[in-house]
Symmetry: C2
Subunit: 216 residues, 2 copies
């Protein structure tokens, strides 16, 4: 069975700002860090403020999360809403100056924080910002799936996924094996990047070795 997907105008694009806003709406998202052994760690915390293309969060000085942020200075965030729309954001974290102002603002915009850290105890929290980073929007609730990448701040764009080169012999194997049917005929054949799952099956099956990773 060959499924043919129509790419319609409804596949409207997202913006980086809309992705950051979506993370704030999801609110409880996963924050990953690297621990002192070089292993991944992850926990769910709240996105406290989204402002333009900047995302703000906080954590407490006693936590492993805080120690890992201070040591490695990078985090990666992901969340998914009920419609199976996912956002991923990764990049360096910046500890904010004027901590008192930011913590007060975070508690004002997220009043339930007062139930967890009442009164003066709020100042055990410290506020951080992500303003440079890589963003990915992935919509698994749509057929076909839809993917889009962005950068925020000064972050350099990184290409992901696969590319069919001029070495393509036009045999159609890639098109036939693609689980999302997102490869179209041509010279060379072409991957519809916004619908690609990055599974790599086309690359494995290409008899001409004509398919490459974009990031080597």
């Amino acid at each position: 069975m060959v499924r043919i997907w129509a790419v319609t105008k409804e596949d409207k694009g997202m913006t980086a700002e809309e992705c950051i806003k979506l993370l704030r709406e999801i609110k409880d998202v996963a924050f990953a860090t690297v621990d002192k052994e070089g292993h991944p760690q992850v926990r769910i915390i709240d996105v406290m403020i989204a402002e333009g293309e900047k995302l703000y969060f906080c954590t407490e000085r006693g936590k492993d999360f805080y120690r890992q942020l201070m040591a490695n200075e990078y985090t990666a965030i992901t969340g998914m809403n009920k419609e199976f729309q996912m956002v991923r954001l990764s990049g360096p974290v910046k500890k904010l100056s004027d901590q008192k102002m930011w913590i007060d603002r975070i508690f004002e915009e997220n009043p339930m924080m007062n139930d967890v850290y009442p009164g003066e105890s709020r100042y055990i929290s410290e506020a951080f910002c992500i303003e440079d980073g890589w963003l990915e929007f992935f919509d698994l609730g749509k057929v076909p799936t839809y993917r889009e990448r962005f950068t925020i701040g000064t972050m350099k764009k990184e290409e992901k996924g696969f590319l069919i080169t001029e070495a393509c012999i036009g045999c159609g194997t890639c098109r036939d094996v693609c689980p999302q049917q997102c490869i179209s005929e041509g010279k060379p054949y072409k991957i519809q990047q916004e619908h690609c799952l990055h599974c790599g099956l086309c690359k494995e099956q290409c008899p001409a070795g004509a398919i490459q990773r974009k990031d080597g």
Copy 2:
């Protein structure tokens, strides 16, 4: 205002097996890895099978996630349900032998996988297991919050959080500042570990320097 929490019989404990089962019920959970630059990465994927204290998942050979697992061999997982109960699991990943059997079983127990990877394309996926690791259950939906730690398989237990030592002078500062009111009088004063947020405020405020991190 001093809030006094009653610890009742309703604070029933969890088991490691129940935590793994909870991750399977949540199903869409965050998997963190470390990339080749030593930075954290995270994405949401499905927990495919939970069996006793083992958790199974899969990913495709073309994905960065796959490359990161093969290079670093560790992952950290977290998910939260609608009742604000969270589970964290971290540890080494084991690529399974007899891949065909495992992929077929995963697709049988998770039939929606056939919509994403129809027919033979399923074999671009590879199955992994976590059978040794650290687990944490954290219930933010309860007042007071409730926390419990476990290990699975051969993983050595690690102590987290804070401890009040014999250097305690009994002044009560820690009890007064604790945002969760989970420190009780005594010689020395004592932290109710299952309700502790690990914020570290007690340690910062103790005038006798009597409070230590359990993990140094």
